[in-house]
């Protein structure tokens, strides 16, 4: 069953925010490739850095983001050592949700993976969804 990767997520020019990270020896699995679980870690790190770049605190103290969906499509194996580059951007914002698209390239410029993620903004005490502030939403959609 083929899942069609959105082509625009593989276009470097579609990203304004980039996060680099360096692979570590312990990232490799027995195939000597970077293990698939590490892709998830690298995409997560890039999303957190995206929010710092966007100057919006998603770690509380009142509201926070919870993950409701995440998918990764691996296009090519990553060989250690290398420095990965991940582009991250918002693709859609709902009433209280935010969807991201991410693309990852290795140090040689090879396109390696795409991730799609959805977070919901919640009240950290009650766990209930909290709608986005209209001005904040407008600003985030320009990034």
């Amino acid at each position: 069953m083929a899942h069609e990767i959105p082509a625009h997520l593989g276009e470097k020019a579609s990203y304004k925010f980039w996060r680099e990270n360096k692979t570590r020896f312990a990232d490799m699995d027995l195939t000597t490739h970077v293990d698939q679980s590490v892709y998830v870690t690298l995409f997560q790190d890039a999303r957190l850095q995206f929010w710092q770049w966007a100057k919006h605190d998603v770690m509380g103290p009142v509201n926070g983001l919870v993950m409701v969906r995440f998918s990764v499509d691996i296009v090519r194996a990553i060989e250690h050592p290398t420095t990965t580059r991940i582009g991250t951007r918002i693709t859609k914002m709902g009433n209280s949700s935010v969807a991201y698209g991410q693309g990852m390239w290795d140090g040689a410029g090879n396109f390696c993976a795409v991730a799609e993620a959805v977070n919901v903004q919640v009240d950290l005490k009650t766990g209930k969804a909290v709608p986005w502030d209209a001005d904040l939403k407008k600003r985030l959609l320009t990034l």
Binding site: N21, F25, A26, D45, L48, Q52, P81
Partner: protein
Amino acid sequence: MSREPLETPDPRDPATYKVWESYPLRFKDQDLMQHVNNVVFSRLFESSRIEFWRRLGQFPFPKESGLIMVRGAIDYLRQLHYPDTVKVGTRIKQIGTSSLRVRQALFNGKDECCALSEAVSAHAHYASSKSSPIPDKLRKILESA
């Protein structure tokens, strides 16, 4: 309980290292204490040692005999916090007949020394695990590092 006194030259001094690797920290490196978990320090030191061996032309490791790690010790001096980019300095501390001591120091983005590592390896035949003197060719490479 106080720490053991450090040797000379002071391993916390960045000027004592020629070989450096830097790593941006990852969100997942943190634990519930909201600092970088102690195991992550060990992996950063390991990754830096591997790159040290690679620069010396010793990685990938030889297939039949080579250096096997027999002891690893880390002194944690300061907490690490995300986000940050750390730098790890690596150098050879002592070359014995069949053993090798590698010294490392990890610095945060403010150039504060956060941890020290000492890794001891023994030259051995992998299958039999019997130690053997470090071959002259490898010794010369190590002495030049």
